[in-house]
């Protein structure tokens, strides 16, 4: 909306804006920003993720005001928050379940990117920044989980930091260095707390870069074809602000259900037992969003190789823009890739199931097959399918497709495919 006649207020704003053009920037990037008019609800997940980041930071800061980062006091300080601090239970459950929600949103956002080719030229750097955000999130979540100093906190920290001992020659020294001692202990807890507080702000900065990269070329869309003019887009406000707000309301319903009615469903009951360095829980299991990587780690009989593949499964994501050789972005027009994509989804869920269960019998077999398929999918299927597949003809333009009221695939003339880098 243009400035109203609120005289003095708008004069002050204009004075500031002339010197620090934040209003002009907001107007450009949030109000007028031309967004493809055919975006589906799968495009809500980016803004939802951004909102969750803010929610996690705010709940985290208020929790930090009450938490004590010392091995002897941490568990009790969390219980004090749950019992004695006004609304403390809500802060804690919101932060705890918020982490799960954050990962769920980001994973859906990531898979949306994989399906619609949002990582393809010219958005490679946008994708890479996203993978960096994911890695920072994993680090933050891992360290955050240690802070309540429950059994699972302590032993997950022990197992995962011990992974570094797989590094030849210097491995054990690195682990001792990470621990600040001879086992996970108070020095470890303190440094994890400091880093857990710091990293979300690093994530915030990378998200800012992610948004700048996004706005350079604008959002991708379900058809995967570039916009050709104003007829293909709508201003972000009010069309997509209201759509994002609606999506937010629906998401908050799901989030609230967990926080208020099933706050411990996604967690491990073992973490309500105070950490005991002398007793390992029967089954050490990470939180659900880390299960696939855990499954890959355990599926490989060789310790070092398992570590390499587990970390590799994430670092592989950096290469996706170059592994996929298809000239077409969106899976809507890729008849083979379309099905193979769902194989990856099933594979990742299977890996999750494998990670959640003790490594015996069928679980081991499925784990090995699923791990193998994961790497085959990216390293073999991506390049091969891109080359061999015959894509369906692309619509002439976004506007044309929208007017047709469908995918636009019935249009005879193919639009120009996406240029390869």
């Amino acid at each position: 909306m243009a400035q109203t006649s609120l005289g003095a207020t708008s004069r002050i704003i204009r004075w500031i804006d002339h010197r620090l053009p934040f209003v002009a920037m907001l107007q450009r990037e949030l109000y007028d920003y031309p967004t493809p008019r055919n975006l589906s609800y799968w495009w809500n997940f980016g803004s939802l993720s951004g909102i969750m980041l803010v929610v996690m930071i705010v709940t985290g800061i208020f929790l930090a005001m009450q938490y004590t980062p010392h091995a002897d006091l941490a568990f009790d300080s969390v219980e004090r928050i749950m019992r004695d601090v006004d609304w403390g239970w809500m802060l804690r459950y919101a932060h705890m379940n918020g982490a799960s929600m954050f990962f769920a949103l980001v994973y859906i956002h990531l898979f949306r990117g994989l399906y619609y080719g949002s990582y393809k030229q010219p958005r490679e750097l946008l994708w890479i920044l996203g993978v960096i955000i994911l890695i920072l999130m994993i680090m933050t979540a891992f360290m955050g989980y240690v802070l309540p100093w429950g059994q699972m906190s302590y032993w997950a920290a022990t197992v995962i930091t011990n992974l570094f001992s797989a590094i030849p020659l210097i491995g054990q020294s690195i682990v001792t260095f990470l621990w600040g001692g001879f086992t996970v202990g108070n020095p470890t807890l303190n440094r994890f707390y400091a880093l857990h507080y710091l990293l979300p702000f690093v994530i915030l900065a990378v998200v800012l870069l992610h948004l700048i990269a996004l706005h350079r070329f604008g959002s991708n869309n379900p058809l995967g074809i570039d916009k050709r003019g104003p007829q293909d887009t709508l201003p972000f406000h009010p069309y997509f602000t209201i759509k994002d707000l609606f999506g937010l309301a629906v998401f908050l319903l799901i989030y609230s259900f967990f926080v208020f009615y099933a706050p411990n469903f996604l967690g491990s009951s073992d973490n309500y037992i105070p950490a005991n360095p002398m007793q390992t829980p029967n089954h050490i299991v990470p939180e659900w969003y880390l299960l696939p990587y855990y499954a890959i780690l355990r599926s490989v009989p060789n310790k070092l190789l398992g570590v390499i593949l587990a970390f590799g499964s994430i670092f592989l994501m950096f290469l996706v823009p170059w592994l996929d050789t298809s000239p077409v972005r969106s899976a809507r027009f890729r008849p083979v890739y379309k099905w193979v994509f769902w194989l990856l989804v099933i594979d990742v869920i299977a890996l999750g199931w494998v990670g959640a269960n003790p490594p015996e019998g069928l679980v081991v077999t499925v784990g090995q097959i699923a791990t193998l398929y994961y790497f085959v999918h990216f390293l073999v299927l991506f390049p091969v399918i891109g080359k061999l597949e015959r894509p369906r003809p692309l619509p002439a333009s976004i506007a044309a497709a929208v007017l047709q009221g469908g995918t636009g695939a019935r249009l005879g003339t193919a639009g120009a495919p996406v240029a390869k880098p």
Binding site: V58, F62, Q66, R80, V85, W87, G88, M90, L91, P238
Partner: protein, 184 residues
């Protein structure tokens, strides 16, 4: 796209009004939601229940003999309890109020004249005055003496000499029995 010139003008206007109303409602509902969300965060900074549980202290006065003084902790501060002798009470009551820097009659500072309950924190810069232990210097008025900057209090805990601006504070308390008080 509908050609507006062909549409009934009042129909178009009604559409806009409905749309504005919807947007207004959405904004109002959103604002209420934001406010309702912010409130618990602010409230979490209030003293927590464990702190509040220590907000009141009960003291049994029976073991305190006439002329004896007792120090108890209340909300992290010392509270001086003085079982005053009749002489101390008389001295406190006989003082000319207009002579005081912080005028206050003794009767306004006690519930039962033989029991003086005051917070043992000097009103100058917060030191704890001497006078509670036998052998302590009580200053020339028989009350309390603050060693930090020389503030001197009388048998009613009122400031008589030295830099302190106000009398020693009387905390909220009540007698829950003949010899039981609840502070706070």
């Amino acid at each position: 796209m509908a050609d507006l010139t062909q549409q009934n003008v009042s129909g178009a206007h009604a559409e806009e009004t409905r749309r504005d109303f919807l947007i207004l409602t959405a904004t109002a509902v959103g604002a209420v939601g934001v406010a309702a969300t912010i409130w618990p965060f602010i409230a979490s900074l209030n003293p927590a229940r464990d702190t509040l549980a220590l907000a009141t202290t009960e003291v049994d006065l029976a073991p305190v003999q006439v002329g004896q003084r007792l120090t108890v902790a209340w909300r992290g501060k010392p509270v001086f309890i003085d079982h005053r002798t009749p002489e101390e009470i008389k001295t406190a009551e006989d003082v000319n109020i207009s002579d005081l820097r912080d005028p206050q009659p003794d009767s306004a500072r006690v519930k039962k004249p033989e029991w003086l309950v005051i917070i043992g924190v000097c009103t100058h810069l917060g030191c704890i005055p001497l006078g509670q232990k036998t052998g302590d210097d009580r200053g020339p008025y028989g009350g309390w003496f603050c060693p930090c900057h020389g503030s001197i209090y009388d048998t009613s805990g009122r400031i008589r000499q030295g830099p302190a601006p106000a009398n020693l504070v009387v905390p909220p308390y009540e007698f829950t029995g003949d010899t039981m008080i609840k502070i706070g």
